[in-house]
């Protein structure tokens, strides 16, 4: 007689098979077979010598993708949100002033995260779809005197690519760290961490990199690392404590010697069990980027975006971001077609074209449709598919709400 009270669930008897779908929303994007296959390699230990080599390769790949020589460069075991928390948890201490640049949902999230750990949160705000000028930024820094300021390079909720040139210098003149969220832009638009004076930069695996969600590249400049090193309090999270993570990832180069004596490594380095197979696929996605060339990837995303935007305007649709120069090439925001229910459009396209596009998020809810063409999805063929699907939807969905 069984002593179990909760029986095995029937729902698990059915085998799950994922549908093939064009992932043209703001992420995750499609994962090419090559990267999926890498993630299905046999699991080895999170501290086996081969794993440390993979992690070392990943660090090199991130340094390339970020254009940085920072030693403290690694992948957080979590998605972009975990990286955002990692950046803020480590760079900020309770009671310190921070400045969050809010021009979409990500600045709001960053503000919420900083508030939770007891920072004094200041914000500057600009309407969804627009940017800050360097003069705005200079004034805000003079007024609030924050020790950390955070900008979102690719604002996927509004479709804005925020210019970064010059902000690093302004921040450093005000003795402030320059933190940048490039989750939606990295690999799809020019970004030079070192040259642009970015102190903390992070992204996610599931956008231009086309890896499954679950890892988040991050890098700390020497200036940022000094602030972390001189903290008076421990970061609230052990899991995201960069001192531990930097040690686990061998950012002090101690591995070079250590690899020959595997057992010794295990004693000092154990922090948490890294997501082994996600590291496999992240490494492969960085290899793809290196193979294609970063600048080629930037150019392709820009060309494809322009081709897409032209096609949309030819259909009579309007782009949410008016200034051509600050349109995010990876995620396009289209003004929700007047008279239509945007939800009917996205549902129609999902059902009839097996294609994901999405509605707005945060400040853009109800106002826009969002289309992400990232990494392997950034091609004219994808654009043609989306335009076709949109035309079809506008023909068949109800137009009744004018």
């Amino acid at each position: 007689m069984s002593s179990l009270y909760v029986p095995p669930p029937k729902c698990l008897e059915k085998r799950f098979v994922a549908p093939q779908r064009h992932m043209f929303g703001p992420g995750p994007s499609n994962v090419p077979p090559r990267i999926l296959a890498a993630g299905a390699e046999p699991v080895i230990g999170h501290m086996h010598p081969e794993m440390f080599e993979i992690m070392s390769d990943i660090r090199s790949g991130i340094q390339y993708a970020f254009q940085t020589r920072n030693k403290v460069t690694l992948a957080v075991s979590g998605t972009g949100h975990a990286a955002m928390e990692c950046a803020i948890f480590n760079a900020v201490e309770p009671g310190e002033d921070v400045l969050m640049a809010v021009n979409g949902i990500w600045g709001e999230r960053a503000a919420e995260i900083a508030e939770r750990i007891g920072a004094r949160v200041n914000t500057i705000r600009t309407p969804a779809g627009s940017c800050f000028t360097n003069e705005d930024i200079n004034q805000a820094l003079a007024r609030h005197k924050p020790c950390v300021v955070l900008f979102t390079h690719g604002e996927s909720s509004t479709g804005v690519l925020h210019p970064l040139d010059g902000i690093g210098d302004i921040c450093h003149r005000h003795n402030c760290l320059f933190v940048v969220d490039c989750v939606a832009s990295m690999g799809g638009a020019p970004l030079y961490m070192d040259t642009q004076g970015i102190d903390i930069l992070y992204t996610g695996s599931q956008k231009v990199l086309n890896a499954p969600p679950g890892t988040a590249p991050i890098s700390f400049s020497e200036r940022a690392w000094q602030k972390v090193f001189n903290r008076k309090t421990k970061p609230v999270s052990f899991f995201l404590d960069m001192s531990w993570l930097a040690n686990y990832w061998g950012c002090d180069d101690s591995w070079v010697i250590g690899l020959s004596d595997w057992s010794d490594l295990l004693l000092g380095r154990y922090h948490h069990t890294g997501p082994v197979t996600n590291f496999y696929s992240l490494r492969e996605s960085l290899a793809v980027l290196a193979e294609q060339g970063l600048e080629n990837s930037w150019c392709r995303h820009q060309e494809v975006a322009e081709y897409f935007h032209e096609g949309l305007e030819n259909m009579g649709l309007r782009l949410f971001v008016k200034d051509k120069n600050v349109r995010l090439p990876t995620v396009t925001t289209i003004v929700a077609p007047p008279g239509y229910d945007w939800k009917e459009i996205t549902s129609y396209i999902m059902k009839n074209h097996k294609l994901e596009i999405s509605g707005g998020l945060g400040p853009s809810v109800g106002q826009v449709l969002r289309v992400g063409l990232m990494g392997c999805n950034s091609s004219k063929a994808s654009v043609d598919m989306v335009l076709e699907a949109l035309k079809d939807a506008l023909k068949h969905c109800h137009k009744s709400r004018v």
Copy 2:
């Protein structure tokens, strides 16, 4: 002419192929092809209707594995450490008293996590390899009056399976939540969350479940949920905030209606991008457990462990945990063979038998060898392999340190 300063790294030109290895350390364990294949299914959106079905299946699977009917049951997007933080971050507010039962490394980690968020941390301690009596616990609760107490069911650093019967009642008499870490024991030893009065229970995907590391099942009792619900402060982590996570995972059953109107769901539920492919493999691993039967799995782990322990004693090796009744069936701690360098043994076995066993961790460093036989690795054939490897190592490694 290129404007890139950091060139593409050469190391990424080489394709990575993972070695086949017997993963008989304390985790991660081997992942069977069926579960690896599930994780290589095409990526769909983290908020597509099929994804919500998978997450619903995962919740049912965890309820079965934990033997609970708790609504607030889900998988954290991280490894066991993230789940430990999730439990403590949500259950504890700054300034509150907690009691950590330390009989190995996990209690220490829990204490460190609670300290970081400003809890008043009390500990009870017992030597590595031993347990607390219910009388010890009762006295400690009376003395410290904590609102949360944490025990480790499977202490993988020492090889102890801590008895749980009766502790729930003691905790509740003292108006205290009973939190249990079952990362190393779940599926390998009897565990009844509801009957044993456990208020928060969490595990990892990479042990008995044989899924890749990266997700961590967790469940909150109604009593625990009430405490979370009535918090005066927000948890320090947005990423691990259970109110958001419970909403994302549909723990309030709102999905049942929602699945037919997909777009509506997206508005309210977006929290973070879940690790889609890790959820695929977690679901599959729970399906395997349901198929085999939880009690069969418990029995097999116990039988295999006893067969292993007998084999070790027949070789003249000694078990670190003296009391047979509290030996963890999933991870065995062997007293490091006198006169040998334990590191030479583990390295020899890794090199010559492609087999991972590990040394100690935390309080057991230098004192033990640890062998994990979990999930698909829990078989007499695996035991024979380990015994063979150990015999070979003891023959060929240096015996010089007596």
